[in-house]
Amino acid sequence: MSRYMLIESRDPFDSNDVAFTYGLACDLVKAGHDVALVLVQNGVLPARRGANADGLAAVIKAGVRVLADDFSLSERGIANARLTSGVEPTKIDVVIDHMAEGHKTLWH
C-alpha cells in the first residue's frame, strides 16, 4: 500500500478536468492505497453544503479523506459550519507533513 496526497486547486464549476483528480482518488482507494484529497484555492468551492457537487460526494463515499484548506475557505467566506458532511477544514501544514512522511504528492 502506498500513501497519496492529491491536491486539487480547481473546482468542478470551472474545470471539467477536476473529474480526473476525483476519479484518480477513488481508483487509488479501490486499489488499496491510503489517499487524502486536499482542496485548495477555488478547489474548496464545491465543499460548501448545498453546492452541486456530485463528484466530490462520490469521492467522500469512496472513503477518501477529504480536507479543505482553512485559508482558502476564509478567503471565500465559507465558514466551517457551511461545509458539506465528510469534508474537514485543515491547516495547509498537512501538505508539508505528508510530503515529509513520504506520501506521493500530486498537484492539479
Binding site: R49, A51, F71, S72, S74, I78
Partner: protein
C-alpha cells in the same frame, strides 16, 4: 457621455492575495474614476465575490507579513456604494455553488441567465473578462 459598458466577470480569486484586490474589478473602478460608465455582472465563480464576510488573514513568510489582505465583498461594496455601479450576480451560478441568498451582501442584484440578452441590448459595449 461615456459609452455604457456591460462587464461580465467570471475570473475569481486568481491573484487577489498578491494584488490585494481583484485586478478586473480594480481596473473597472479605475476606469469609472476616469469617466467610464460600467455595469458589472458577476458570473461563474465570481459570484462568490458577493458573499458577505469573506477574507483570509494576510500571508506570512518568515518575518514578512501581509498587512492589507483583500476582502472581496468590501471591494464589491465599494463598486456599489461609492462608485454607484450596478452589480448583478447570476442566480443560477449562485445556486450551483450552494450559496444561499441570505449570504449575499446587501445591494447586490440577482439576474437570471435568461435576462442577459436584454441587459446586453441596454449597453453599447459588452466585455467578457
Amino acid at each position: 457621455m461615456a459609452k455604457k459598458t456591460l462587464n461580465i466577470v467570471e475570473s475569481a480569486y486568481r491573484a487577489v492575495m498578491e494584488e490585494q484586490d481583484d485586478t478586473i474589478l480594480w481596473v473597472l473602478a479605475a476606469m469609472q474614476g476616469a469617466g467610464a460608465e460600467h455595469t458589472v455582472v458577476l458570473r461563474a465563480n465570481a459570484v462568490n465575490y458577493a458573499v458577505a464576510g469573506q477574507g483570509a488573514p494576510g500571508m506570512a513568510v518568515g518575518k514578512w507579513t501581509q498587512t492589507q489582505a483583500p476582502k472581496m465583498d468590501r471591494d464589491v461594496a465599494d463598486l456599489i456604494e461609492k462608485r454607484k455601479m450596478t452589480v448583478y450576480v447570476i442566480v443560477e451560478d449562485v445556486a450551483q455553488r450552494g450559496i444561499e441568498k441570505r449570504e449575499l451582501m446587501s445591494g447586490i442584484r440577482l439576474l437570471p441567465r435568461a435576462a442577459l440578452p436584454g441587459l446586453y441590448e441596454e449597453h453599447a459595449i459588452v466585455s467578457h473578462w
